[in-house]
């Protein structure tokens, strides 16, 4: 079969024709197609997690000079399956006085919001669950349901630590949703669309250097930091800080219900990496993708895995932040920076410069803003360190 003929966009059409030829009424065909597509995405997501858990554990092990899982199967590949089986056999405990319905609903909702976000991620050109015009807003919308799930889990467990975890969820996820949304709006401004597929498509310029990570690195930086917080990953894993609140909102969950939270956590990280890939790394863009559209899937998955590796790297190296540091980093640094960047980008785009120049001006503005913001941050920190040093200097009594 000629590879150039393998256009993924036609697969759905082919499938529909196949069904019609089997004598399925034409009104039912698109419904079957959609259901099968949704099922495919779901199976893909759930199997993916098995690999992701292994991948992240291996990376963390390498970074921390360990071996990581290496007993079950080749390279420990089957370790996750063994762990899942172990979790399945564990006793399912519901605490006394727990709010039963809410308690059981929370893990389902946690996975639900992540899987829903998968629907608008383009795996290749136009290979997308739901090609809707408000893709970016849709993602932000379902992100806010995630914090609801953690809040429900924290409250219904009837446990002080879980409740404290719930409070932290609200503080963290709600705060970091703002820089996350603003950072995503900057590429939206440049591309002139909120459609995820069109966002990836808009990054075709300058032979690969038109990816928004090269044109607007500051926006990507803000997005990455907000991603770490939204994904509840170190250094922002205050929701489940073992040393402070034992395990956070999911402390009372055991067995399969805990596994659901675990699944949601890893899948959420992957989905956030996929969003970063689509919005900032050109999505399915890559060499020869015009001739062979199927290559797009490979490019997309590779880039997503690279971003996921970056997230794992950060998680394995950085210590946890204090809660006040986390909040002020968001509200006093990321949000103002994102707002200024948003305005500067809007002004630059309004100038209607010719094309290579526009990218260069945007890049220059981004670099200047980031360096300026870092300089301000450093100055402020030096001032604070100085102040705290003075506060701790013992006063020498005068004789």
């Amino acid at each position: 079969m000629d590879l150039s003929q393998l256009d993924l966009r036609n697969l759905g059409l082919l499938f529909n024709q196949l069904l019609t030829s089997f004598g399925v009424p034409p009104a039912v065909v698109p419904i079957i197609g959609s259901l099968l597509g949704a099922l495919l995405l779901l199976i893909f997501a759930l199997t993916l997690v098995l690999g992701l858990v292994w991948f992240e554990r291996k990376i963390a092990a390498r970074i921390q000079d360990r071996f990581g899982p290496n007993r079950v199967g080749p390279f420990g590949l089957l370790q996750t399956i063994a762990d899942a089986l172990k979790l399945l056999t564990k006793e399912d405990i519901t605490p006394t006085n727990a709010d039963r319905v809410t308690y059981n609903l929370a893990p389902a909702l946690a996975v639900f919001h992540v899987i829903m976000a998968l629907a608008v991620i383009p795996f290749a050109n136009n290979v997308i669950g739901a090609n809707i015009n408000v893709g970016v807003m849709y993602i932000i919308a379902f992100g806010s349901i995630g914090s609801m799930a953690a809040l429900m889990a924290g409250w219904s467990s009837n446990n002080k630590y879980a409740l404290l975890g719930g409070f932290r969820v609200v503080a963290q996820l709600l705060s970091y949703e703002i820089p996350l949304g603003l950072a995503m709006m900057i590429p939206v401004l440049a591309a002139g669309t909120m459609n995820m597929n069109e966002l990836a498509e808009a990054q075709y310029r300058y032979a690969g250097f038109g990816w928004y990570i090269f044109v607007m690195p500051t926006a990507f930086f803000i997005f990455l930091v907000a991603t770490l917080a939204e994904g509840e990953r170190a250094p922002f894993d205050l929701l489940e800080a073992e040393s402070e609140i034992v395990a956070g909102f999911n402390i009372e969950y055991s067995g399969m219900k805990f596994a659901w939270f675990f699944l949601a956590f890893f899948l959420n990280s992957w989905v956030l990496a996929a969003i970063a890939t689509t919005v900032f790394l050109g999505g399915w863009q890559g060499p020869f993708v015009d001739q062979i559209p199927a290559l797009g899937v490979i490019y997309f998955l590779t880039k997503t895995l690279v971003v996921f590796w970056l997230l794992a790297w950060i998680r394995a190296t950085f210590p946890r932040l204090r809660i006040d540091q986390m909040m002020s980093y968001c509200w006093k640094f990321l949000v103002p920076l994102a707002l200024v960047l948003f305005m500067v980008t809007a002004v630059v785009l309004k100038l209607n410069l010719p094309h290579p120049l526009e990218g260069i001006v945007l890049l220059a503005a981004n670099v200047v803003l980031l360096l300026g913001a870092w300089w301000l941050l450093g100055r402020e920190q030096r001032k604070q360190i100085g102040a705290s040093k003075r506060a701790f200097t013992p006063e020498i009594p005068r004789l």
Binding site: T102, N133, M137, Y138, S144, I145, S147, W155, L163, G166
Partner: protein, 162 residues
């Protein structure tokens, strides 16, 4: 399409009833979230994707979360049941019934133009153009109101240095 509407609408109404009848404030808030989600689903079936997403972001992501946060901070957190009625229920009932009668009268007397218009492709563009064009004054007034509320909240909450 009618079946989808009936299913979503009845779930939304059930959630709304749950909101006012739940004896547990946290449950009431969760029912409210369900009702908001139902309304968003209704918007989505009307091809108003932008409105649906905005509904979820604003009402569930911001307002409902804040309501829950307020409940968790102000009540005895693990305390469960609370009466749904207090001494003012009779006045509230009168006010609510009057509002219902007025709204029902309004809905019944208005003739709705039910021509099915095609949804334009660039809805978001038109909404944006509307915000900075035709409806710029209401939009700005709403922004100022929100900023005022924000500043007021910070003033109330800030520590007073003496």
């Amino acid at each position: 399409m009618a079946i989808v509407f009936i299913v979503i609408a009845s779930i939304t109404v059930l959630m709304a009833i749950g909101t006012v009848t739940a004896r547990n404030l946290f449950h009431a808030a969760l029912f409210l979230v369900g009702a908001f989600f139902g309304v968003a689903a209704l918007y989505a079936t009307l091809d108003a994707g932008f409105l649906a997403a905005a509904q979820i972001i604003i009402y569930i992501g911001a307002i409902a979360t804040l309501i829950i946060f307020a409940i968790m901070l102000s009540r005895s957190m693990m305390g469960r049941e609370a009466g749904a009625l207090n001494r003012q229920w009779i006045y509230a009932a009168i006010g609510a019934s009057l509002l219902f009668v007025a709204l029902a009268a309004l809905v019944l007397t208005t003739t709705f133009n039910t021509t099915l218009l095609p949804v334009p492709d660039n809805v978001i563009y038109q909404i944006g153009a509307g915000f900075v064009g035709t409806y710029v004054i209401p939009f700005e007034v709403a922004s100022i109101l929100l900023v005022a509320a924000l500043v007021g909240a910070i003033m109330l909450a800030r520590e007073r240095h003496r």
